[in-house]
């Protein structure tokens, strides 16, 4: 049997202009890694057609232990408070190799 261990998956969707800033937050909060996908879409910020350097979205996925998640959500909330357009949601997942998500990135 596999030991599937519950974890939290935080997903953020926003303009890719924020990439460096989001990755810095994720590192600071001690995530073991992160995944970025290129996205497009629309929302209160208008259309993000994904065709130009200036209107492409990114979708960020971070799995992290619940205790570190809270700090990350604080940071994201602060960005929203500053006026940035972020779609943020949390899902419950069960991970296969549980220990790896405990070790913060070294670079």
């Amino acid at each position: 049997m596999h030991r599937l261990v519950p974890e939290k998956l935080v997903t953020v969707i926003t303009t890719d202009v924020l990439e460096q800033r989001l990755v810095a937050l994720v590192r600071r909060r001690g995530a073991s890694g992160y995944t970025l996908l290129r996205a497009r879409g629309a929302g209160s910020d208008g259309l993000q057609s994904g065709n130009l350097e200036i209107d492409t979205n990114l979708l960020l996925k971070v799995i992290l232990p619940p205790d570190r998640m809270s700090g990350l959500l604080d940071d994201l909330n602060a960005l929203i408070g500053q006026g940035y357009h972020l779609t943020v949601f949390v899902s419950d997942v069960a991970v296969l190799n549980h220990e790896k998500f405990e070790r913060p990135m070294t670079t």
């Binding site: 497009r40 208008g46 130009l52 350097e53 500053q82």
Partner: protein, 336 residues
């Protein structure tokens, strides 16, 4: 007359094709990276050309061009900001973000103007190429200062809301200034210019087929895609409202006129060069400024500045603006 012949330049026709394709709701679309690839190609090519010219340039004239580029980049956003506030349709933060675009330049419009001059056999000075590279950064800086000033004013009126914003504004200002000068397209343009200026001239010749011969074709593809984007944004003009659309048509005329005056009176350029300075004044950035504003003025609505810059001012300049600035330049500089 000259307006009509502008319409028969392939680059302009491809722009129109993209625009029309969107209007008839064609499913024509470019893969998402093609516009970015073409834009890198165009920036590198014009950078290299500019650099080769720079190496031959008269130092005094080059310095004058740079100084006037800086002044235009500082002055135009302030005019734009005032006009936008006068419309009473947008708040000061939106006004700051929009205005910054008009202090900067659209490389696509500039290149269309070069194609326009080329198709009519009109000579032009190369200094406007240098000005093009200079004008991105000051416009960003002015935009940020206007936004900062606006936040201060908002904070006074509604102190409970303003505090965190002002704080934020200060907190990242250094970052944002750095961003204005290390912006990807600024680095690409200025870097290519330096390379063009210092590289072995024989080796530069081996780049000619790439940077010059196939240039027009690449520009046509780029303008086709810009036509598609303009067509997409154009549909939003109703949402931004007539007051703003009027601004998007008037501001390039004002900037163009100022540019033509600068090109003729201050820089003493020929009709061709004066036309190009007009185009620098008239056009609005859609590469370097939008991401800078998104990062630094998150409170502003990107729909406003993208619709105005891409959906209104860009098509206006490409189709009717360029011949107008040329006409103006001819009236002024042609008489000399």
């Amino acid at each position: 007359m000259s307006a009509f012949s502008n319409l028969l330049i392939p680059a302009v026709l491809f722009f129109a094709l993209g625009f029309v394709a969107r209007l008839i709701k064609s499913d024509l679309r470019f893969p998402p990276d093609l516009a970015k690839i073409l834009s890198i190609y165009l920036l590198v090519s014009i950078g290299l050309h500019g650099g080769v010219e720079l190496a031959k340039a008269d130092l005094g004239e080059a310095v004058a061009a740079v100084v006037w580029a800086l002044l235009l980049g500082l002055l135009l956003p302030i005019i734009g900001f005032g006009l936008l506030l006068a419309t009473r349709r947008v708040g000061p933060l939106d006004a700051a973000a929009i205005a910054a675009h008009y202090g900067s330049v659209s490389a696509g419009t500039f290149l269309t103007a070069i194609a326009f001059l080329g198709s009519q056999g009109i000579e032009y000075e190369r200094y406007p190429l240098i000005m093009l590279a200079i004008m991105e950064s000051p416009a960003i800086v002015v935009g940020l200062l206007l936004a900062s000033w606006s936040r201060g004013r908002i904070a006074k009126t509604a102190p409970e809301r303003g505090t965190p914003r002002a704080d934020h504004g200060n907190g990242h200002l250094g970052d944002i200034l750095r961003e204005a000068f290390t912006n990807g397209s600024v680095v690409l343009l200025i870097g290519s210019m330096l390379i063009g200026a210092i590289a072995n001239p024989k080796a530069m010749e081996s780049l000619h087929p790439f940077t010059t011969d196939i240039f027009m074709g690449m520009l046509c593809l780029f303008l086709l895609e810009m036509g598609l984007e303009a067509g997409r944004r154009f549909a939003d003009f109703r949402r931004v409202g007539w007051a703003l659309v009027t601004f998007g048509l008037a501001m390039p005329l004002i900037g163009g006129a100022i540019g033509v005056l600068v090109g003729d009176l201050m820089l003493g350029f020929s009709v061709g060069g004066t036309t190009l300075v007009g185009v620098l004044g008239a056009s609005a950035s859609y590469i370097a400024v939008p991401p800078a504003m998104r990062l630094a003025v998150p409170e502003a609505n990107p729909s406003f500045y993208l619709t105005l810059s891409l959906g209104v001012t860009f098509p206006f300049n490409v189709v009717v603006g360029i011949p107008i600035y040329h006409q103006l330049a001819q009236m002024l500089a042609g008489g000399a």
